[in-house]
């Protein structure tokens, strides 16, 4: 029944799609680290001392993991790191949603958008759904890898 989920045809496409998504997400942050640092600061979850190092390094982790998935190098490790990042994003946005802190997620665009509070809350809910979708893609890759081993 679940054979189709581990089918190589699907796995390759999911792997490349997830890789491309992370490469595309990383580029604006690499180009403009101060804006991304501002976005991380707005989450109010990270100590000030870690905001700037995180803004510098995290986009490069996304880029390298995305490239690893596209090129099929260290797939397992890249998939695990990406899943961990997605879980972190989901938790961070959920905490701010519960706090009532309307923020721009800074996922694919780090320019300051002049959105209303309501628009930001709506975006945050959509981002959680989108990240869950990507987490399911990572789960498919993990499932396919376990089937390949056995």
């Amino acid at each position: 029944m679940m054979q189709w989920l581990a089918h190589p045809w699907l796995t390759v496409r999911v792997q490349i799609a997830l890789g491309v998504i992370f490469v595309v997400a990383a580029l604006p942050k690499i180009v403009d680290p101060p804006s991304f640092a501002h976005m991380i600061y707005n989450y109010k979850l990270i100590p000030w001392a870690l905001v700037k190092p995180m803004a510098l390094v995290m986009p490069w982790i996304e880029l390298l993991c995305g490239l690893a998935l596209i090129l099929g190098i260290w797939k397992g490790t890249a998939r695990t790191i990406i899943a961990a990042l997605l879980l972190t994003f989901i938790i961070a946005i959920s905490i701010n949603l519960l706090r009532g802190n309307a923020i721009d997620c800074g996922c694919f665009d780090v320019s300051a958008a002049n959105k209303t509070t309501e628009e930001r809350f709506a975006d945050m809910r959509l981002v959680i759904l989108r990240d869950i979708g990507m987490l399911l893609m990572a789960a498919q890759l993990w499932y396919a890898s376990t089937r390949a081993v056995t």
Partner: protein, 224 residues
Amino acid sequence: MNWRKHFVEAATLIVAAAACAMVANAFASKERKLVVVPQSAPRPVVAAPQPTPEPITQPTTTTPTTATLSTTATTTTVNRPPATTPKKPAPTPPQPEKIFNPHPDKAYIEIHGDDVEALHKKGVLFLDARRTSVYEQGHITGARPFSVWESDIDEKVNKLFTERSDPRDQNLPIVIYCSGGDCEDSHMLAQKLWGIQFNNVYVYKDGFPDWQKRGLPIHTGSAP
């Protein structure tokens, strides 16, 4: 699953990412660069007469204070008119001018549009805490770009301190603004300036959008 191999690969990816980040940051323009270790703020040569707050190099939460501005006490001598004089509408008394006194115990005071406009007319220094790219698209006429997120912020603050090294100059009002709403950049910059003894800093609470709404003078480009 080979955990050791997994761990080595993950560590390699993270170290490679950190190395790429450092190299990219080293070659980035000053507006796109991040200073991970901030420079220390300059110490004043002459001690200011007010109690000295500790320098602050990172944003901390300070309870914002809504403007409670004192007004000059105006004493006017009114000659009572004789009873036979026909009644005339009483002239409206001149609006007492607000005084923006130094407040060394507070990093900043939040003020609103009318006070900001009055200070702008007086030629008070305005600092724009938004990103330089946003500043160039339009800013309050005369305001200088002072983005707290850009690598040259300490350099700009040091230069301002040099310009106003006299303690009397440090008590001159400075107005800082960003995008209004929940924007905290102006508060962060105010904390930074308070840390080096600028004791008369005001934050324009409603920020640039309010200024635009009021139809007040705006300048575009990199020049103030």
